[in-house]
Each structure stands twice: as C-alpha cells, then as structure tokens.
Amino acid sequence: MSESLDTAVKTNPQGDPITSVAAPKPTEVKKDPHAEAKKQRVVTPEYMFFEAKRTKEFITGSEAAKEAVRRSNVDLSIAYPITPQSETMQLIGVLYGEGYVKEYYRGEEEYGVMSAIAGASRAGVRCFTATAGPGTLRGIEPIASWPGHRLPAVCMFTCRVVNAPLAIQPDNIEVSYLLNCGMIVFHAENQQDMFDFIMKAFIISEMNDVTLPVGVCCDGFFVTHARGYVHMQEKGIKLPPREAWRGAVPVLDAENPPARLSRDAPVQKSNFMAYNIHAVWQQEVWAAVERSRKYINKFMGGLCSAENMENADAVIIASGSAAAQSREAVRLCADKGIKVGLIKVRSLRPFPTEELRQLCKNTKLIVIPEFNYVGWLAREVATAIYGHSKAKIIAGPHVYGGQSMPVELIVDEVESGLTGKKSTNVPLSAIMGTDVDQGAVSHFMQNI
C-alpha cells in the first residue's frame, strides 16, 4: 500500500505535488430494501390464523392494519389522504418501499381510487385501500358497484363524522351507508380486531362462492390512533396469493379485445329480459353474502360473540368501539349486583340474525349503545329478533359528532331499563318492545 502511494505522486495544474491522498472509499454494500420481503414464505390461511406463533406488541390501529397488510400478500394498494386513515395508507406506502406491497400510488380522489381498485380487482390482483367519512361517501358509487361486478377487495373504513359541518371526529354514521351495498361488512372493536379482520377479510373475500369485497370498519381515532396490544404472527410469513382464475367470474382479459372494465351490461344490451337478469343478479350478490357465513364462522369464530350471557338480567349488544365501552359497563353493573351479558357483533353483513334470535329468546332487556345518531345497529337487531324475543330494546345511548361514550351512560340505560326509571339520554321513541312502561311514557310526555 505504501509503495503504491510513493509511486503515484500527483501534481496540481501548477506543478506542485499533491501531498494529501484521498481516503479510500468504504466498501459500500448496497442493501436490498426488499430483502426481508423476498424472504417471506407463503403459509396456508389455517396455519396463519390458528397455528402460527404470535408475539404481543403495543401498537396503533393504523400500525395494526399495516402489519396485517404486510402478511397478506397484497398486490396493489391505492391511497388518497383523509383523516383518520391517512396514516394507515402512509404506512402501507412504507410497506411498498420495503417490497411487501407490489404496487402503490396515490389516486386523484376517492372516486378515482375506488374505480381503480375495481379495475385492479377485475384484472385479478389482491387490492387494499382505506378511506373515511366524506371519502367513503365520495367513493360510494364505485364502492357500491364492486359487489355487482363480483370484485374481491378489502377496504378499511376508519369511521368519522360525515360533513357538514366540517369535523373530523369519531362517528360511525357512514357504516349505515355501506350496509346495503351488497358487500361484506365487519366492524372492528380494537387494534387486535383490525389486524385479524383485515387478513381474514382477504381470504373470505376471495372464496369462489363469495367473490365479494369486504369493508373492515373501525371507529376512527379510538382504534386508528390509540394503541393497544396486538398479538401478531412473525413477519416472515404471508397468506397465499389470490387465485383469480378460481373466481366466480372471469378476470379481465386485456389481451383479447374487447376488454371491459365493467361486466356486460344487460340493461343496455337487451330488451324485455333486462329487468329479469338484473333482478337475479342482485339476488346472486346477496346469495354470495349468505355464503360467506360459513367462512366467517370458520376463520373469525362467528359473526358475533357472546359473553356473560347465562342468567343475565339484561344484554348489551354492540359493535366496534361501543363493544369495548360495553365490556366495561358489564363490569360496573356486576359491581352493582346486576348481571349483564354482552353480545359483540363482528359481522354486520351478513348479519347474525339466527345467532341473535337464539341468544335473545329469553332476554328481558336489550341495550344497544352506538356511536351515531341514527342507531343503525338497533334497527338491525330489532328487525332480526322481531317475533323471536319479547325483550324491551333500548336503542341507545347514542353519542356522535366526536363525543366519547362514558361507560356510566350505558350503565344508566341498563338500570333504567330494568327499573322503569326514566332515562335522561334515550327518548321513549327509541325504546321498542312490549315491556315498555306506559307510566314512564306518560311521565315523559307530560314533561316535554
């Protein structure tokens, strides 16, 4: 080394010897940013969900969604920012950088994103996106067309207020718009649900006899921004890729024109048969929703879960973050000597109709707390158990516009429901069932 330095004396343009020698460059080892992703191995859904060892981490809901996508062999993810899902999709961008997601870009706005998801799913790839509140409603036309096109995809809805007035706070009113699209709709209670539901949604969505999109909803901020313990499988395994050739419909064949982004439209093409085909087409979409039940039972342990139901004086039925608040209300009620059961609804579409009929057939009081004004879950429950239960149903308490739900509010409704005491938070018009205290109704009316 020293010999080579002696013989390689250089001069500057003026002829002066250059005495300093540039330091040798460190040997640069260019690290492949996709190296870890390339090492992932495919495992069966059964192994992933039921057998793989899990470790516990304390992460936000957005991070849980990211970790779910990391293990879900996702081909394409399209982002458009809107609070509170912006962080989620930004984290999916990190996954793209690491090679866990094959394609990723920012769409023009939600209509464009949901339309592009339709095209990508039609082309046969596994797709993920997320939106919230006004974004959901902006994208709802293409979203509502996904089931009719039989497009498997997973969309995360981090529910928030729908404008106006402008607000970005938690409120799950947007779920009510999704319930009649023909898609499968799950409602996650916490970060763990967010992680599990997304991964399982891909598998259920792509079952041949289902072939439908799945919306995984959660209550924004409470789940997306707050941290919770999440038990996760190792990063080195992932779900099998989508087998688009097994779908209930052929994938888009771009090499054999004419290629169409939408299914052949019977309304445009035929005459007197058009009504018939559209009618049975809609039937078929909802039949596919029905078929998803067995997969939800298999992979998610049921459309709903029931806790503390034996000899319960009352039952709280809740979904999403309201289920978490209700669990604490059950504990407070127990401290007061009131035995209260909890039914947590995981799947809103399909809805656990038969399950609720069985669980509530002898129930006297049902309380349904919700994070929205309209009480969509209460309507669903009342419709499902009508004629199968004589329970008084209290459609409340409701909080919305960003309000949190004090646990005591739920406890109050359980107590007033059982004692006949007037509620301060739920109007009598929101109390259903044969067991309504007419005296209380009269008292309420006199005090208006």
Partner: protein, 254 residues
C-alpha cells in the same frame, strides 16, 4: 340444513317457480361440503346418488341437453382439454342428447338463436325454444351459472343440474362439486350404469348426439353425430372462429 335422509319437502324443484321467486340461498339452501351434493335443495351426503338422479333425469326427460360453458369450450390449457373430453364422454352415454354451448356471457343482440347458444342473460329463451326439460351445466363460471339457474327455475319447467368445479350451486335442482376430470369421468361411468340398468341402448354407429336445427344446417343436414369424434386438441381447430365467434364478430357485438 335438512338432508335427504330426513325426507323433508323438496325445496328446489322444476318450475316455473314464479315471476321472481326467492333465491335458493334466501330459502336457506346452503352449498354442500366435499363429497356431498344437493338434491332438490336438500343436502345429500353421498354425491353418487345425486349423479344417479342426474342420469335418470337426463335419460328420461324430453330434449335433455348439455350446456358446456367457456371453461370447457375453449382450449385454455391441457386441463381444460381433458375436461372437455370427459364432458363428451358424458354426452356419449345419453341417447338423443342435445349439446348447446354457452360460449361467453354477453347478452345476444338483437336476439338470440336458441338453437345456437344459451346465454346467462336470457337462458329461458333457449330452454323454451328447444322445449328442454332436463339439462346439465358444466364449465360455466359460478356467478353466471347462478344467474342462469335462477332464471330457468323461475320461468321454465326444466330440471337443472350443475356439475361444478368449485362448491356447487344452490339454485340447481341437482348439483355436485369439485368436479375435476376424474370426477367427470366418474359421472360418465355412473350415467352408463344407470342407462344400462334402464335398458336404454345407444345407436350402433355411436351417433347419439342430436343436432339442433341450426347445428344441422351447419353440418350439411346431418341430424346426429358421434361426440367422441369431436374430441378436441390443445390449440387445435376447435377455436372460436370455427363456431362463428370470430374476432370481427366479437368486435361487432361491442
């Protein structure tokens, strides 16, 4: 879900079921598990019994018809070709059977020729046009098969069967699932056994497939053919153009 062993009332039977009857899923019919089948909307634990009933219907009903779909009509790959051959083996066991293809899923405009094709957007026209009282769908994508089966049940008296490569079809009166080439060959064998037990003979020259009027015109006035001489080859002459589905025509259909 009720099984055939409990002998309850049949749920999915030949129609016309009504102007717009509920789907089988709405009526509580669920798809069978592997090895099982559905017989008139009831779970049949032994799929062979379902196949036997398919055979009886196809051997005794007027104008029994096989409706092959795109997955066995086009030589996508070796597997598709093998399945297509197996479908023809089934056809070879049914005297006077018709074969009317469902080559694609596009609505036929301005009107369908029911003697040429069946189409999921108006399948009842082909059923009515040929007075078909029993049929089997094979190789149709599940979504389109389900549309077809619902409309046929609503508006016709045809007994429908679906031999499905996936999970089966609730709206078919008879259905079996997971039908790969081996199972299709098994279906052909069961059809043979049932036919022989009924004392039904095949023509000596093997020409047991009856042409529709349109097919007969295309084939120079012949009335029947031997399905086994139609055996396809991968990438062979049995392309779309041979059946009138040229790229030009597809473009015209838009």
């Amino acid at each position: 879900m009720k099984t055939t062993e409990q002998k309850p009332e049949r749920i999915i039977v030949p129609g016309p079921a009504g102007f717009h009857p509920p789907s089988a899923a709405q009526l509580g019919v669920m798809l069978p598990d592997p090895g099982q089948g559905l017989m008139y909307g009831l779970l049949e634990p032994n799929e062979d019994l379902v196949i036997e009933e398919m055979a009886r219907k196809m051997l005794t009903s007027p104008n029994a018809t096989l409706f092959p779909g795109p997955m066995v009509l086009w030589a996508w790959n070796e597997h598709a070709v093998e399945k297509a051959k197996a479908v023809l083996e089934i056809a070879a066991q049914i005297p006077d059977v018709l074969i009317i293809p469902m080559p694609d899923y596009r609505p036929k405009y301005p009107k369908i020729d029911p003697e040429e094709v069946i189409n999921p957007n108006h399948p009842n026209l082909t059923i009515w046009g040929n007075k078909i009282e029993a049929c089997i769908f094979i190789g149709v994508h599940c979504h389109y098969a389900n549309l077809t089966l619902k409309m046929i049940r609503a508006g016709t008296n045809c007994c429908t069967s679906a031999i499905c490569a996936e999970q089966g079809h609730e709206d078919a009166m008879l259905t079996v699932r997971d039908s790969d080439t081996a199972k299709l060959k098994k279906v052909a064998q069961i059809f043979k056994r049932v036919r022989e037990s009924m004392g039904l003979k095949l023509p000596a020259n093997g020409e047991n497939v009856r042409f529709t009027g349109t097919q007969s015109k295309v084939h120079g006035g012949k009335t029947h053919t031997n399905p086994l001489v139609f055996m396809p080859t991968p990438g062979g002459t049995a392309g779309a153009a041979a059946f009138g589905h040229s790229p030009e025509q597809m473009k015209r259909e838009g």
